[in-house]
Amino acid sequence: MAVHSITVKQILSRIRQVFPDVPETYVMNLINDALVEAGMYNSKVVHAKMSTAANQMWYDLKDAAKDSSNNVLEVNKIFRVYFMDNDGDYILIPRLIDKDLLLTDVSSESALQAPDSR
């Protein structure tokens, strides 16, 4: 039993019921715009692994950021993080709501030489 899903061609045919002359490239661009917007909500949940680097506090999450196997992460919103303990098991770690945490030592940023958007 297969799940019913529709292809781009089927979407295009539904659109052309109302707009018979619409170019397929334009419709495809609009579908991609819609997918970007849908990605901001709970439409695709993914999990991935990242490696830590000694004395590195910040890790990149831009569109091109990659996981530890060099796959693109494509993160929109992180909602859960686990860290590997000394047995090799992943343990849930808490998120801080207050980013301006007092008593934090950011000496890991001492290597910063130029403005960095990371």
Partner: protein, 143 residues
């Protein structure tokens, strides 16, 4: 490779700032305490391969061919039709020299926008929620 941190739930914290993920700890590379009265939290002191496991909402893959199936749950596929119609009707409203056509197209665009918003933003998560069964609460063991 395991880390040297025995209790990550106590020793690690994370937060997001813009496009950056921040991981801080209060232990050193051997897992020993690494805090002073003024410096409670620091960057992690060790390199751990695959040390972080993230769960997140990701960008769906784009479509590039007519045979592609959009990379979101099939219950949301019809909403894509609404999104495209919303845009095309708005284009038509902007291009038309006839005020009546323009008004009707604008109204149609709003109708499809409403359907898109309901499907994706308002009820998307609830309708697609795959949670079922009895609910139970697992309180922490305080003993």
């Amino acid at each position: 490779m395991a880390s040297n941190i025995k209790y990550p739930e106590n020793s690690c914290r994370w937060f997001i700032d813009g496009d950056s993920f921040c991981l801080i700890t209060n232990v050193d590379s051997s897992g020993g305490a690494n805090t002073t009265a003024r410096k409670n939290w620091k960057a992690i002191q060790e390199a751990v391969t695959d040390g972080i496991l993230l769960y997140y909402y990701a960008e769906p893959n784009n479509v590039s061919a007519l045979s592609d199936v959009p990379d979101i749950d099939n219950s949301l596929h019809l909403a894509l039709v609404d999104y495209v119609k919303k845009c095309l009707y708005m284009d038509k409203a902007g291009k038309s020299g006839d005020p009546n056509v323009s008004t009707v197209s604008s109204n149609m665009s709003m109708a499809h926008k409403q359907k898109w918003d309901e499907a994706i933003k308002r009820f998307g998560m609830k309708k697609r929620d795959k949670t079922g069964g009895m609910r139970a609460i697992l309180p922490p063991d305080l003993t």
